[in-house]
Symmetry: C2
Subunit: 275 residues, 2 copies
């Protein structure tokens, strides 16, 4: 199989090299729409989303829309999401759509087609995946991502207290979260960096991530409690592969575009100081 012209790892390195590693979340939850003086409906969502793309599209390295907040408005919300993905990508950002999909067989292939195929209305540069049906079940998405120069981020270890029951359970002498990291590392041996993992930034994860050779999405930077120091203490030498994700702290500065952009600059500068 011939690889894509540019691998996901190359594209990510190029964009973050220019713009920094901060991943800015677009999480239009109803309370935030109201704080911005917008109605919690599809029109309010559209205004919110366009403002975010205007503010972050040419500034942030990675932009992460949260699909749930668009799905709430049905097809009208999904139409807004299509536009966000297209416009953010056109403005030079890497788009990472947070959908946490996971299924098997032809259904998993359909999710792959929905989000990782060239020309799909909801095509993103990368998506998040959930591995409850087994890491192997995600193969159709991983395969398509590799073929199209896109990426996937598989949930490994999250910071929420309820996550431990599943993610720290043991299978074949290691935790499930570690097994996810190890499976991702095996695929990343090809050097394309297509398979990232999601590891929460706010608590010790206890994982061996030294051989991953792929990106680590670390939610919880900012409002949820992790600062630049946590990035070092939680991720150690792997810190250079981390994409710290922040959403609420930044979005709270809206709806003025300049204030949103300044918030991104401030958080990015804080991150660079600690690199």
């Amino acid at each position: 199989m011939t690889g894509p012209a540019e691998t996901f790892g190359e594209r990510l390195a190029s964009v973050t090299g220019e713009r920094g590693r901060l991943c800015v979340g677009i999480d239009p939850h109803p309370g935030l729409l109201r704080d911005w003086g917008l109605e919690a409906d599809a029109r309010g969502l559209e205004k919110f989303a366009r403002t975010c793309v205007e503010a972050f599209g040419s500034l942030a390295g990675v932009i992460k829309p949260q699909s749930a907040f668009f799905e709430s408005y049905g097809s009208a919300g999904i139409a807004v999401l299509e536009r966000v993905l297209t416009d953010a990508r056109a403005a030079g950002a890497v788009t990472l759509l947070d959908v946490k999909r996971g299924d098997i067989g032809s259904t998993m292939s359909a999710y792959a087609q929905a989000y990782l195929a060239d020309g799909a209305p909801l095509a993103a540069d990368a998506i998040t995946l959930s591995p409850y049906l087994g890491f192997g079940s995600l193969e159709p998405a991983i395969e398509l991502a590799r073929r199209t120069g896109r990426g996937v981020f598989v949930l490994a270890r999250t910071s929420n207290p309820e996550g431990a029951g599943v993610q720290r359970a043991h299978t074949e002498g290691r935790s499930i979260a570690q097994a996810i990291v190890d499976h991702a590392a095996e695929i990343n041996a090809d050097g394309a960096g297509s398979v990232g993992v999601v590891i929460g930034a706010t608590a010790a994860h206890g994982l061996d991530i030294g051989s991953l050779r792929g990106p680590i999405l670390a939610p919880g930077f900012g409002a949820q409690g992790a600062g630049p120091e946590e990035l070092s203490s939680v991720f150690g030498a792997a810190r250079e592969h981390v994409l710290p994700a922040s959403s609420r702290d930044i979005l709270a500065k809206g709806p003025e575009v300049d204030r949103l952009r300044n918030a991104v600059r401030t958080v990015s500068a804080l991150l660079s100081e600690h690199e």
Copy 2:
């Protein structure tokens, strides 16, 4: 908290009492669209979906659209899904939307609002959920389902070989799949039957499901290999709570509505014989 006028368990019992327990899947994958003489685009999807609702809406107890195959067409596909959910419900079927969502906090609440709130464009009678972030993280969806007389089906043990690595891993002296069943059973002690589980029909699951008091969605009936005998051998006395799901065997009889309806009648009769 006052419960809804009718609980999900009551609604399900009433519909399946009249129509039988077969859950008919609407899985419009591209190959099937072509087999029906349709283009694999949003118009073909719409024609396919309308034919399914015409055929199954007034006949099947439970209708289960698979969201992935609608998401592939972006907002145009989601508009078709809205129509399927509305029309199937209006025709008297229980709609079970297979979305396998799972997230935390306000994001999980947004998924709950998207699929389980009265008046939401994509409101279904029930949805599937994926518990990689912990059973507890699903609470916003479970809570809203109970309040609105809807249901959720949480993935427990699936038949695909890759599923075992996660689902059979051990946590606090039991498998993860068993822990999911036990958590569901705790909530179902209220008698509302709001929390079902998903357990594959094609292989021994090794779970104690005797105290669940909720429905069991069992994919894999038909094309994937499980017959009426498997329902008894795999589920034992809990068989009366099982919703055997079948899709491909039935959909392969399309696009003629009469042949689709006859296929449902044939499979349903086969199931009743073994009850």
